[in-house]
Symmetry: C2
Subunit: 394 residues, 2 copies
């Protein structure tokens, strides 16, 4: 028979030295997992990482498993001793992990939220059902349905894969029926594809929402998100908007995150139209490129609030602690090994904070790092961040 004392004794000997630290498990470790880990570690937490390949960003941490994250045994071992678990992205195998979780340990955001957001058709349907403003869309099961919708919406149109479209991949802007037919052949799946009316937006905005399982939420400032070639290039905070537009953007973002039961950070990408209306483009159920500026610019970074929400802790203040900030992405130029000392010329821009992700392979236009500048005004922040980022040829 095992006495209570024995049980206590076994626990204190049988677990790692840091067992008294709150432990967060992170499934996946590109730049998002890496920056989540930095936030958790800064608070004195223990971080356990499971990632399917050694891509570099994870290599600096001590408790990392590189393994088959679809294998139930690997997942079970990973989940052991975690107080809570999160995912780096909606593509991590959250559903599989949920099946082997120990009692009392949650995976957050909820796997059902990740599934919903991953499928652009179901995501749109959920947002529409919640009464939120969206560009006109149709879930088409066949090319015939797509052509019928095209006749209704008019060209140009955007056809999107239901699953797996991001950063310009899996999307096609179609100017005529021939282009639509071609895009359909490339992008449609068994359940069809998503067809959207092209929206004549003035600019793209983004709002981050951090939300706990108890429904408590904080909403970050509205930022301006500038795309270049279908990819986030720069983010300026705060967006220079009439107060009524900013508040409306925050209102619909919070409502959208509630509609999908988002927990942790959910990023809401928005279109602002010339008539002042704001429409929801899409959601990401995790820290997001449009929120990297929060590390330097906000009282609580998106990564810390993600960790807080996942751990069931009170959320931190989302507001800016500086007048303005700008983040510019650093993208790869070539194929091969990155040259990390290539960021040295950027250090001459003395107000720039440089983040490099430690990826061990570079590809053209791959996100390799970013630069953030805070300043008294958005124009200065933008100018300096662009200048510094342009110096980095990693």
């Amino acid at each position: 028979m095992q006495t209570t004392d024995d049980a206590v004794h076994m626990k204190s000997e049988g677990t790692r030295e840091e067992a008294h630290l709150p432990t967060i498990g992170i499934l996946g470790c590109g730049q998002l997992g890496r920056m989540m880990a930095f936030s958790a570690l800064r608070m004195g937490m223990h971080v356990k990482i499971l990632t399917p390949e050694a891509s570099g960003p994870e290599a600096i941490f001590s408790d990392v498993t590189v393994g088959d994250w679809k294998d139930p045994e690997v997942l079970r071992e990973f989940a052991r001793e975690c107080d809570a678990i999160t995912v780096e992205s909606e593509w991590a195998p959250a559903e599989r992990l949920a099946q082997v979780l120990p009692d009392g340990v949650d995976i957050l955001p909820y796997p059902r939220t990740l599934q919903l957001i991953r499928h652009k058709g179901r995501q749109k349907k959920a947002l529409l059902k919640a009464g939120l403003p969206l560009p006109p869309f149709a879930r088409c099961r066949s090319l015939e349905e797509a052509n019928a919708t095209a006749a209704e919406f008019g060209y140009p149109l955007v056809l999107k894969k239901y699953e797996g479209s991001y950063d310009g991949y899996g999307n096609a802007t179609c100017d005529d029926p021939l282009a639509l037919s071609d895009a359909w052949n490339h992008l449609s799946a068994d359940d069809g594809a998503l067809l959207e009316a092209w929206v004549p937006f003035v600019e793209e905005l983004a709002v981050l929402v951090a939300r706990g399982t108890d429904g408590d939420a904080v909403v970050y400032p509205v930022v301006y998100s500038e795309q270049a070639d279908h990819r986030c290039h720069a983010v300026v905070a705060p967006a220079n908007l009439p107060e009524s537009v900013a508040i409306e953007a925050q209102r619909i973002s919070l409502a959208a995150v509630e509609a999908v039961a988002g927990v942790g950070i959910t990023a809401v990408e928005l279109f602002r139209l010339a008539d002042g209306r704001v429409l929801i483009n899409e959601l990401a159920p995790r820290p997001h490129n449009t929120g990297h500026y929060t590390i330097e610019a906000c009282h609580t970074s998106q990564f810390e609030n993600h960790v807080r929400a996942v751990m069931g802790w009170p959320l931190g203040l989302p507001g800016l602690r500086v007048p303005a900030a700008c983040m510019v992405n650093v993208l790869g130029f070539h194929d091969g090994e990155p040259h990390y000392d290539a960021f040295r010329p950027a250090l001459e821009f003395a107000d720039a904070t440089i983040h490099m992700y430690g990826k061990n392979k570079v590809r053209p236009r791959r996100k390799m790092g970013h630069v953030t500048v805070t300043a008294d005004d958005a124009e200065t922040a933008r100018m300096h961040a662009e200048a510094a980022a342009a110096q980095i040829h990693v």
Copy 2:
């Protein structure tokens, strides 16, 4: 015969995957080494740590050696593949390491600067020689000399060990000859001890200087440093001072760091007197508790500028990016294992940024973490940081 191709081939196979990252070696890993590492990692660098014991803060990093850091073989292995090496504190065995460094690799700050600053008598002498304002002091070789000096200075006096005094250890305030005699017996070494006149200061200030081997330097804002029981309790930035006093404090701090050829961060602790004069108390040749506020509050943190200087890179802007900030230390309460989830109540103070160092043992008054709040004014920052820190009973 080995061809060039072979040599290249061997290099790419024989070294770790991240060999193309700039590598910094850090000797020692309490909270200062840990926060240096965070800064270097954020820039995409590789960090190699050597520490004499597994005390907790180092446990989160992947490339850590726990070993006898006085062993030349251990030091030689540590230095291998480092592009530059620094120390967490003036007590790390920099001189021993210097003897086994590979060609072209520096240890910074210079071992001779560390030696000079470590010995309070030699430190004072160097600063006096540079014409810098100091409290009256004497380097006493015997109790007789100490008594003669006491007769000259008048009581109270402060007797300090030449080496090993910090945070109230190794210092004694003496009100009479009996106390002086007693303190002498406890604190004097073969070469005597340091006797200082007691200075009726109004407040303590601190200034950080970051300086490269080329002499380029940047000077941080003057901060107010509040001690409690001989230990840093709170730091408020910026100190509320007449501009002329602030500039004088920065001037003498920069001159002091030049006088000791400081490289990396050197912290200068200062006394402000009622008559407006500023005197140098002492120097620390490394990131310092009075500079933790820079992580959230300045364009470039003290840890990043230390890394930049050690690597020979351009220095970052030291100025505040916020109107005001306050840092409050989190000290241990008991002896034993820390309860890290004890920081949870502090999270209710939504504008507080909490840093816990991951130490695996707590002792009464040991530095276990700190809290920083930035705000529009110093009073608000101070009030919120005190309130949050007071909630943490680790």
